[in-house]
Amino acid sequence: EAGVVQSPRYKIIEKKQPVAFWCNPISGHNTLYWYLQNLGQGPELLIRYENEEAVDDSQLPKDRFSAERLKGVDSTLKIQPAELGDSAVYLCASSPRGTDSYEQYFGPGTRLTVT
């Protein structure tokens, strides 16, 4: 079974530029998560989707961050414009059910560096 796929693995951009991350969850997993992980910290939830609906985006900085999950499968997370403080690892995860009472399967992450 293929795991969660993310691309790109690494991205270096200048501040004020836009950037997008892509995630393909495990087949059949209805729930998709985007997390931000700063160095030396645990992941922090940005947004959770159940199918194509964003059910929890309370931690997503909506002035510059946006996300979509068209057709309830792949998802894209965008930052526009990027700031120096956005440098972090962006993790995508999926799970088979609509609650957090199940394990989550994580992708390898996208390491973003904003210069």
């Binding site: 645990g42 992941p43 939830l45 929890d56 993790l91 957090d100 199940y102 394990e103 994580f106 390491r111």
Partner: protein
């Protein structure tokens, strides 16, 4: 905000020894999960323990949960060099909008 706090922050042991990692949390939970993260990789789920469970085993892993003390421990027996990684506890809160909240993690180094 991060609810789970792991202890110690870093642990270095010899191969073959046991490693014990602790996690404390603040609010009531539905379940608690432990994850491992190797350098530069995503997180891998290790074990989940529900709030009505006290102990659970999976291979060389043993996790305990004390809801009265709001704490959990993860024991890795007979450690191997390949166990070198960061370990995170994550708590799943109660309610429709609950989410997994991760701690800062414990860095485990197993010396060959």
């Amino acid at each position: 905000s991060q609810q789970g706090e792991e202890d110690p922050q870093a642990l270095s042991i010899q191969e073959g020894e046991n490693a014990t990692m602790n996690c404390s949390y603040k609010t009531s939970i539905n379940n608690l999960q432990w994850y491992r993260q190797n350098s530069g990789r995503g997180l891998v789920h290790l074990i989940l323990i529900r709030s009505n469970e006290r102990e659970k085993h999976s291979g060389r892993l043993r996790v305990t949960l004390d809801t009265s003390k709001k704490s959990s421990s993860l024991l890795i027996t007979a450690s191997r060099a390949a166990d070198t990684a960061s370990y995170f506890c994550a708590t799943d809160g109660i309610g429709a909008n609950s989410k997994l909240t991760f701690g800062k993690g414990i860095t485990l180094s197993v010396r060959p």
